[in-house]
């Protein structure tokens, strides 16, 4: 079953065209890794899927819903969870309250049940003992795991990760990639923008290389990392892997 489908998506900021006709289909249970140079449009692509940016052309389908249709765009949030580079936890709420907010306000689940579900989500990321802590009292890695729990609690079908580990101190990266690995093993459909090449190789079913707003090359990590066919891919991988 196709969970996400982009058809010839065009996206511009004023005069700057950032996505220049992107086509992509992600099947249920697939883990797709997105790589590319800074500014190539990786984040923009995820944000377009999650309806955080309007598009100027093309179509975006999520579980058969036309997200490019403004009337239906907001439905995307029922099926897609997103984890941001900067965590974006709500600083005035505890870890648990961050997780239960949408359960109560959007899904209208009552407080007791929401609490039970919130604790379960925190348990999945190994943080049930931090339920009462505020974001400022948590390490970066813990914050990001709460952000993952917040998205997971809504039981999304697809998870988007935009450089979920790159704002973390090197020592803390493992915590978060661990949780992501586990999610992948459980069969979650995932789109992951990352610079962690080890993770990409281990976990990705497919790697997509974006260059200047277009998908320049894609394939299984074993093939794409070792013998890329596009010279731009080669150049990019060389720079990333050999610095």
């Amino acid at each position: 079953m196709t969970m996400i489908e982009l058809k010839n998506v065009h996206k511009s900021f004023d005069d700057l065209e950032v996505l220049k006709g992107v086509d992509l289909a992600v099947e249920k249970g697939e883990v797709v890794i997105i790589i590319g140079a800074s500014g190539s449009g990786k984040s923009t692509m995820l944000r377009v899927i999650n309806n955080l940016e309007p598009i100027q052309g093309g179509e975006v389908w999520v579980k058969g819903i036309p997200i490019h249709d403004p009337k239906r765009a907001d439905e995307v949030h029922q099926y897609v969870g997103m984890v941001f580079q900067q965590f974006n936890l709500f600083p005035h709420l505890t870890a648990l309250a961050n997780v239960t907010l949408a359960l109560q306000k959007v899904k209208k689940i009552d407080a007791g049940e929401a609490r039970r579900m919130g604790v379960a989500a925190l348990k999945r990321v190994g943080l049930e003992d931090k339920a009462g802590a505020y974001p400022a009292e948590l390490s970066g890695g813990q914050q990001q795991r709460v952000a993952i729990a917040r998205a997971l609690a809504l039981e999304p079908d697809v998870m988007l990760f935009d450089e979920a580990t790159s704002a973390l101190d090197p020592e803390l990266v493992g915590e978060v990639t661990g949780v992501m690995r586990q999610l992948a093993e459980e069969g979650m459909t995932m789109l992951v923008v990352t610079h962690e090449m080890g993770f990409a190789r281990d976990v990705g079913d497919r790697v997509v290389f974006i260059d200047e707003g277009q998908i320049a090359e894609e394939g299984p990590p074993a093939i794409l990392f070792t013998s890329p066919s596009n010279p731009r891919t080669k150049q990019f991988l060389y720079r990333v892997l050999h610095r």
Binding site: N50, L52, V80, N88, L89, L101, K105, V106
Partner: protein
């Protein structure tokens, strides 16, 4: 007669104090409510409201409060609005003026909340209203509180202008006393001291909040 005259006038001073306080508190409540609504609406960048709110803001921020007060007091009279007495006219003028300034405090507070917060809130499906109510406004609280208290100090002092349309607040009562017993220096010093006693503690609170906000 000397200072005795001022001590004998403590009743009239107290009336002035109560009147100043009444006008201040009423303005704080209404001005904050107005400022909050305007601030949120401006931060939301609703195209249809953009121009009217902007005009409101530019006019009330860009002209003297005294003129606004006279305008409303006399103007209301000739527009045939009944019952616009000095208190109401002063309250309306102060509310519109302080509301404009306070709306900018709220707007700045809302805009200081990182964009990512709004995006994260949308990502978990909150509605526009829910985003403001549960995510944005609670976070602006610590940001807006120090400048808000600062604005309230200005507001208390601004109520002195109601003197000009004949509201019996502290300054006007002071003039009434001088009218009877003379001694302008002494009387004005006493009035200034009363204002200081109201405002200085607020300054201290504002400063403490500011420090706390910086360290938070």
């Amino acid at each position: 007669m000397g200072w005795q005259g001022i001590i004998d006038s403590s009743g009239i001073l107290f009336t002035g104090f109560v009147n100043t306080l009444t006008l201040s508190i009423a303005t704080i409540i209404l001005g904050t409510a107005l400022g909050l609504v305007v601030g949120v609406l401006r931060a939301a960048r609703i195209p249809a409201l953009r121009a009217p709110l902007r005009i409101y803001l530019e006019v009330f921020r860009g002209s003297p409060l005294l003129v606004q007060m006279l305008f409303i007091y006399f103007g209301a009279a000739y527009l045939g609005l009944r019952g616009v007495e000095t208190f109401i006219a002063a309250l309306v003028a102060l509310t519109l003026y302080e509301g404009a300034l306070i709306s900018e405090i709220f707007r700045a507070g809302i805009e200081a909340v990182p964009r990512g917060q709004r995006e994260a809130a949308r990502s978990i499906g909150l509605s526009r209203f829910q985003i403001e109510r549960y995510v944005i406004l609670p976070q602006t609280f610590t940001i807006v509180l120090p400048p808000l208290v600062g604005q309230y100090i200005g507001l208390v002092k601004d109520t002195a202008l109601a003197t000009a349309i004949g509201y019996f607040e502290l300054v006007r009562e002071g003039q009434a006393i001088i009218d009877r017993i003379g001694m302008p220096i002494e009387v004005f010093v006493v009035i200034a001291a009363i204002y200081f006693v109201i405002c200085y503690p607020m300054s201290l609170v504002a400063r403490r909040l500011e420090k706390r906000a910086l360290h938070a």
